[in-house]
Symmetry: C2
Subunit: 342 residues, 2 copies
Amino acid sequence: MKSKTDLKELGEFGLIEHLAQNIQLSHKETITGIGDDAAVIDQNYDLVTLVSKDMLLEGIHFDLHYTPLKHLGYKAIAVNVSDIAAMFGTPKQVLIGLGVSNVFKVEDIEALYEGMKAACEDFNIDLIGGDTTSSKIGLVISITILGSARKEEVVYRKGASVNDIICVTGDLGGAYAGLQILEREKQVFLENPDMQPELEQYDYVVERLLRPKARIDLVHELKEIGLHPTSMIDISDGLASEIFHLCKAAGTGCAIFEDKIPIDSRTEQTLAELQLDPTMAALNGGEDYELLFTISQPDYEKIKNHPEISTIGYMSNSENGKKLVTRSGNIVDLKAQGWVHM
Amino acid sequence: MKSKTDLKELGEFGLIEHLAQNIQLSHKETITGIGDDAAVIDQNYDLVTLVSKDMLLEGIHFDLHYTPLKHLGYKAIAVNVSDIAAMFGTPKQVLIGLGVSNVFKVEDIEALYEGMKAACEDFNIDLIGGDTTSSKIGLVISITILGSARKEEVVYRKGASVNDIICVTGDLGGAYAGLQILEREKQVFLENPDMQPELEQYDYVVERLLRPKARIDLVHELKEIGLHPTSMIDISDGLASEIFHLCKAAGTGCAIFEDKIPIDSRTEQTLAELQLDPTMAALNGGEDYELLFTISQPDYEKIKNHPEISTIGYMSNSENGKKLVTRSGNIVDLKAQGWVHM
C-alpha cells in the first residue's frame, strides 16, 4: 500500500490549492469562488439569497470508527442542502471550513473532499470558498450554503393554519436504526478486532445514516405541480421536535396519527431485531433529513397519490395541544425529546 | 459570586433562543434572520454579494488562558469583517456557528455573544443565523459573513500592474508583540498562580492582538476620495505572506523598503524588551488585520499625506523576484514564513 502524505508536506496554502484544483463553477451568478478574501456572487434582482450553516464535530456528529470520510463529506453537504430545500429554495453555492489535526493525511482530506464534490455535483452547487486550519481538537467540518428563491416562493417555518394537513417525505427512523447497528458493530470490533462486520442485510438503514438524500428533488416536484406548502422544515432532530417547531411558529396544536408515520419495512425489521420501537425511532431518532411540511386542505388532491409523500395528521387549535393518536386509538401527548447526538 | 448556569439547563434550543433574543436587524435587505432553516436576504440588482468564512479553534487561534471571551467574540467578527473590507465591500450580515463543551456555562457563552454583538454594532452588521452544538473537543467558533459591493467596485487579489505602489494601513507587528507578552505572562502564571500580571505598559500591543480593528473605516475613506486600489488583501498571516499572494495573483515581483514598514513605537519598545526584531514581527507576525493594497502611480497624490496609510514599495517585473531593501541598503530575498498559529 502506498504510504500517505503528511499534511505538513503541502502546508496550509498548498493544501487549499491542492484541494481547490479542478473545482468547476457552473452558476452564472458565481463570479469568483475560492482564491480571494471572499467569494463574489451576482444577484438577479427578483431573487432572494438563502443562507445557512451547519457544523459537524468529531465525536458529536460523526464517529470516524464507522464513517468513511467520503461519505462524511457527502453528508456534510447534503445536510446543508436540506436546509435550503426546507425553505423551498434551490441550493447554489457552498463554502467549506475544515479543521484538521495531523492525524489526518492528505489522502484522507482528499477523500473527504471527493465526497463533498460528489454532493456538489449531485445537487448542482458551486464550491466557492472556505478556510482550512489545523486543529488540536479533532476533525471540524463547517459548511455554509447559499441558495436562491423567488421572494414570494420562500416557505418559512411559520405560516401553517389550523386544519392544514401535515405531510412528510420519504420514510423515517432509518438513520436511527443505522446508527444503532453501527454502534453495535463498533463494540463488537473494539472487543474483537479480528471480527469482520456483516452489514449487508443492513444496507438500507446504514445508507440512511451515512448518505442522507436531502429532498431537493421533491421541492422541484412540488413546484412543478404548483403546490406551495404553508410551512416547512427539514427533519434533522426527529419528527416530534420538528413538528413542535412548526406548531410554535404557527401558534397551533397538532394531531399526528401513529399508523400514518412512514417507516420502511427494512427499518422496522432492523428495529425489531434491536428490540426498539419504530414509532419512537421516527419521532425522536433524527438525522433522516426528510421534509416536514403543511398544506392547505384544497391542495390534498395534488399529493394524495404521491408515493414519496405521506399525510400524517393536521394542525389544530393550540388549546388542543400536540397529540399523538396511537394505533390502538388512544390520544397521548406528543413528546419532543429531540435527537441526542450519540 | 453568583453561580453560573449549566448549559444543559437551557438545552440546545433554549440556548439559541436565549442568545437570539434582543437581536435587532438593521438592513432592509435582511428579510429574516435567526429562527428558520436559512436566513433570507433580499438583493438589490446592481450589487454583488460577498461571502467569506473563518473558523477559530481553541488551542490554535486562541488560548482561553488569556483571551477574555468577550474580546474573543469581538475578534471573531472583526477578522471576518476584515475579509469583506479586503474586497472593498461593506459588511452586512453574519452567521455564527458555535461548538461548546459543558466546561462552558451559559454566562460564558453570553460573554462571547456580548462581544460578537458589540462588533456587529460597531460594524453595522445584522446577526442572521448560525448553529450551536455541543463539542467534546474544545471551543469552536465558525463565522460566515456576507457583504455587498457594486460589481465594478470589488477589489480582488489579482489586478496589480508592474510599478503600482504598495500601501499598507495602520501599523504592523503589534499583534505579534502582544502575543509574546501574553505567552510570557501565562508561563509566569502557570509557575506561580499568585503572581498578578502587570500588563498596563503593554496595553497597546495586547489590544492589537485581542481586539483587532478591521479597517472598514479606511475602505469607506478610500471610496470617498475616489481611490480604487488595483489589488487588495487583509494582513492575517503577516505582511510577507500577503505580499506573496498579491504578487502571485498579479504575476509580478515586488520591492519592499524595510524603513517604510509602519511599526508603532510601543510595538518597537515591547519587541526590544523581548529581543525580537521588529521587521521580522511585521513581515511574519500576522494577526494585525490591516489592509495591504496596491494603487496606480497617479493615485499616489490622493493618499501621500494620509496618517494611516504607508507606501512601502512597488510591484516589479516577476523576473526581478520579491525583494526586501534593508535599512542598510542591501537587497535580500523576501521570505514568507507566514503566521504559525501559536
